[in-house]
């Protein structure tokens, strides 16, 4: 390299070390600036009445209570549907399937599902749940779309955590006469629970922050959804609507701050879980 003649390897080493540190610090700064700004502008808006009262005049003033309920509602349905399906699939892949073509296909399927753009999920949800199945614009349609989006996350993380359960556990259980399913149900699954929980939380995080996929499926109601066939407006969708239609900047800041706080809580919870889990596994 010509550069070597101008810059000695030792100096190059020093320059690059500086660059590496700079890149790490820039990444941290990017996050701090974004989160800091949103919280700085949004936190003054967020108080009890903002969280627990209804919006006034399509969100120009008032609170975001119906949107918080909508978010919790669709996310709850998504997790309720996706968890058994994802964990079931993970159990099959980790415990029953060998290494055949079908397994490769299933893995490719989950990977593809994880990378389909959210707007394509939105189109599918509109054509399939809303129109074809006739569910209409409602909490259920939105929840089912989000379930499909959370599914691959739950599947992949659960599979890894089941595979990490030591083989001796299974052998011990089988040796005392338990069947395969009894072993899975009473030994393998309980041992894998912390990992599965992490998977579910990550799936939940994906569902609660999604807006594009449910844009044409949940409607955009301003009232609290009661039944699963009521239209709703989850928080990210509300933020999108009031920000792009210029309805209220203050309420947009407040909604964004609530979303950021939710994400921070989720990150802290997953990290605590993962740390406790890995400490437990290391201890053995």
């Amino acid at each position: 390299m010509n550069l070597n003649r101008i810059i000695s390897p030792k100096i190059a080493q020093r320059i690059m070390k500086g660059l590496f540190w700079a890149s790490g610090i820039i990444t941290i700064l990017i996050l701090l600036v974004i989160i800091g700004y949103i919280l700085y502008k949004g936190l003054p808006v967020v108080n009890m009445s903002f969280i627990f009262s209804n919006p006034i005049d399509s969100g120009r003033s008032g609170g975001i209570f119906p949107f918080i309920i909508s978010s919790l509602y669709v996310t709850f349905i998504a997790i309720l549907v996706a968890t058994p399906l994802g964990v079931g699939a993970a159990v099959y892949l980790a415990e029953y399937a060998g290494e055949g073509t079908i397994v490769k296909l299933i893995r490719f399927g989950a990977e593809t599902l994880a990378s389909i753009p959210s707007i394509v999920f939105g189109l599918f949800g509109l054509a399939f749940f809303v129109v074809y199945l006739g569910l209409g614009w409602c909490v259920l349609s939105g929840g089912l779309i989000l379930a499909l989006m959370a599914l691959p996350t739950i599947l992949q993380v659960s599979e890894v955590s089941l595979e990490a359960v030591p083989k001796s556990y299974r052998e011990g259980s089988l040796a005392i006469g338990a069947t395969k399913w009894q072993t899975i149900y009473q030994v393998v699954l309980p041992a894998g629970i912390p990992g599965i929980t992490t998977g579910v939380i990550l799936g939940l995080a994906r569902a609660i922050s999604e807006a594009a996929a449910i844009l044409f499926a949940v409607g955009a109601a301003l009232s609290v959804p009661i039944s699963i066939f009521d239209p709703a407006r989850p928080l990210p969708l509300h933020l999108y609507i009031i920000a792009t239609e210029g309805i209220s900047l203050d309420n947009a800041y407040g909604t964004a701050a609530v979303l950021v706080i939710l994400v921070l809580i989720i990150t802290v919870v997953t990290n605590t879980l993962v740390e406790r889990y890995s400490r437990k596994m290391m201890g053995r």
């Binding site: 690059m16 700004y37 159990v91 399927g109």
Partner: protein, 290 residues
């Protein structure tokens, strides 16, 4: 529990396992069912290479949006790849433990922030900034790329970091033993060995950028045109769907699904490439790439 029940459980689990495949087939089926008629009646080539998108005149050409989606994505890679590779190497090789403990949740949080929040931040901070410093409206291809840069950073950083960490330790030891500096070792040994994983990381970042919808809508300006410069407003494929689906009927409705088909195919191409490289990666590293 009887053998019969065991059998039922296994079959039940099998069904949950193939559900991902069924869902994908359903997605393909329904998107094509709704989108294909538009491609057929408007003409496949007219649809892909048509320069005008004007539903009120029954003009449905998506070429400008294909160019915009690719343009925004490549521009964001131009910013994101150098920064995230430096960051990945920093995490894998340089950073002390404390720094790593700080960076990990930082990257996770960056990945977890909803895209609408990024879009909102772009709308409030970035767009006015661009308007003041570079003229125009501030809604532009560059604004969209900058927001996407931040959004794809965590993807590229975490996968590349894994790739660098998975290079066998002996490679590094051998290089250091020969008297190479740490940077020479990174540049000439670790980085080349990790290349397949890094390419996978970049492709997955691309996939995220191509598929991002609302954050792009909020800052890109959404004019369906071929941009003359990076400061011109553009409309991405994803944006086109989200902006117009609310009121579309008839052929217009089908044309938006057809836009979805184009998007879907772009993502599948990226995925197939990523899988091919991923496959090769095992062979290469196992077989002694160096």
């Amino acid at each position: 529990m009887t053998k019969y029940e065991e059998f039922l459980v296994e079959k039940g689990l099998f069904i949950t396992a193939i559900l991902s495949i069924i869902v994908i087939l359903l997605i393909i089926g329904f998107i094509f069912r709704e989108g294909f008629p538009a491609m057929e009646s408007y003409g496949f080539l007219n649809f892909i290479f048509g320069m005008t998108w004007s539903p009120s005149d029954d003009q449905y050409g998506v070429f400008t949006m294909i160019v915009a989606s690719i343009g925004i994505t490549l521009l964001s890679l131009l910013f994101a790849v150098p920064l995230s590779l430096l960051c990945a190497i920093f995490l894998a090789e340089i950073a002390p433990k404390t720094m790593r403990r700080i960076m990990k949740p930082v990257i996770e949080t960056l990945a977890g922030i909803p895209s609408v929040v990024y879009g909102f931040f772009g709308l409030i901070i970035l767009v006015p900034f661009m308007r003041v410093h570079f003229g125009g409206t501030g809604f532009s291809m560059l604004s969209a790329s900058l927001i996407l840069t931040v959004m794809i950073l965590p993807t590229i950083i975490s996968i590349s970091e894994d790739a660098i960490k998975s290079v066998p330790y002996e490679y590094k030891e051998a290089s250091l033993a020969l008297g190479a500096t740490h940077w020479q070792t990174i540049k000439n040994v670790l980085f080349p060995a990790a290349i397949p994983g890094i390419i996978t990381a970049v492709i997955l970042g691309m996939g995220r950028a191509v598929g991002e919808t609302l954050a792009v809508i909020m800052v890109a300006g959404n004019v369906a045109q071929i941009p003359n410069s990076i400061f011109d407003p553009v409309r991405a494929l994803t944006s086109n769907i989200a902006l117009e689906m609310g009121y579309a009927t008839g052929l217009h409705y089908n044309a938006l699904f057809a836009t979805g088909i184009v998007l879907f195919i772009m993502i599948i191409i990226l995925l197939v490439i990523a899988n091919y490289i991923h496959y090769k990666k095992k062979v290469v590293i196992g077989g002694g790439y160096l």
